[in-house]
Symmetry: C2
Subunit: 301 residues, 2 copies
Amino acid sequence: MSFIETIEDGFGAYSRGEVIVPPVGELTFTDPPGDTHIKYGYAREDDFYVIKIASGFYENPKHGLPSNSGLMLVFSKNTGELLSILLDEGYLTDVRTAVAGQIAAKYLAPAEVDGIGIFGTGIQAKMQVQYLKEITPCRDLIAWGRSENSRQQYKETMTGLGFNVTTTDDPAEVTAHCNLLVTATPSESPLIKMDMIRPGTHITAMGSDSPNKQELDEKILGQCDLVVADSISQCLERGEISKAIKAGIITSDTLTELGQIINGSAPGRTSEELITVADLTGVAVQDIKISDAVYRELITK
Amino acid sequence: MSFIETIEDGFGAYSRGEVIVPPVGELTFTDPPGDTHIKYGYAREDDFYVIKIASGFYENPKHGLPSNSGLMLVFSKNTGELLSILLDEGYLTDVRTAVAGQIAAKYLAPAEVDGIGIFGTGIQAKMQVQYLKEITPCRDLIAWGRSENSRQQYKETMTGLGFNVTTTDDPAEVTAHCNLLVTATPSESPLIKMDMIRPGTHITAMGSDSPNKQELDEKILGQCDLVVADSISQCLERGEISKAIKAGIITSDTLTELGQIINGSAPGRTSEELITVADLTGVAVQDIKISDAVYRELITK
């Protein structure tokens, strides 16, 4: 089973209530700024549970270190014994995050993508787009980034991966030319407003995973046609949806969960004119399923 | 610095608000029964943060495995990098838990202990008593256990450690002859009632660390003279205190925190006639401080 199938199955099981996922554990740091998330849980049908630790320290690149790091721990659900430590330094989190973006686009992107617009130039800005290659034949990419240097570096990488890349520091240039948008920044103030978005656009907002981060103006969530959460309960606490809920712009009963669309119990994109938003905060079920896949592969070798 | 000094300092700092400790992460399992706790946080003055994972699966001994397991992870607070994995299989949790009992007895036990009474026959029933050797010269020990086999095994171990051991399956026999009691069971119903307790007794209740566990009748907490929590915020959610609060028997403003007594900002035992209770649920600051001590020792070798 490929990662996309495994994680799609996981989101489906999660939305059917078959996966136990307690609230995210969180530590935040100010000097230097950083955060660490602990995501954990288990699928009722599995023999193990998973605890995933992932950190983001955004000044690390100044010291030649990657911003993100982490590891995944697999334990027996029958005895509590530690079965495996996956010392992936955050790689599996990067993969499962990119795969969630892939799944969101699979169910929500317009049939004809005329441009992929990416906000951010970091590792997820690269991987999200790379993983979209399996979903759409579109190779026209416009990337927004704050610094000339990071835009240039991003352009080189993505050109090497087969994209026709334009870069800009103007968000409106991205939204004007693309109908599949991915936001992949640690921004704490909105990058996109409603009047910048073309009809028929899908936005996957995946950068905001903490209560303080925000990439979309919260009015977008009230005015677009469909708001999809990777986890409704988690998105009430963090991510774009939490901002719109707290501002009184939307209520939780208007939300659809990604797994419901996968399970066929809720509609996804029903018309080419719709504006859809998927808010991905990263759910432990992704960590559980990717650890499962890797651990099984390891022990059968 | 010894572990008792390190952890005493930790409790003191915690009660002064100098240690960040989010709510405990928890997974519970039913088939077979078990639980896993994630305790984590950092001292503001330190350069690292600690995530501790500890599990209890109480049917493990049937399969020749210890009930408890766990590990501690030390990360840089400046970069999020993993610095050390202490694969202690729960040993450091056992030590820091026994040390907390030692500290509670140091501040709250009567000056003349005429008998140590222990409830339980597991690893903590052994370690709690072993660690009391530094606090009191009393070597008369009465142990309560459910099974003849475990009582016999316990008696052998503790006799070897220099105690005069009597065992019983009657809780009242323990409370009648001892004025320093430690409860160290995973019991889900009370073992001790108020009318069984002699004046001048101190009880350290350390077995109950989950919302479902209880060792003391909740009325004891309303009728005794002093109730001490290792962490007031944590004891509102779990342990003996949470039961008494939920039953409306006590309110949180009657509670004293162990670190306050250590800091001298609240009185401990002020008279030999008092009945005192310390409710120990296990606080991340203990894990942080013991990891700190072990990690420093490792890197300076």
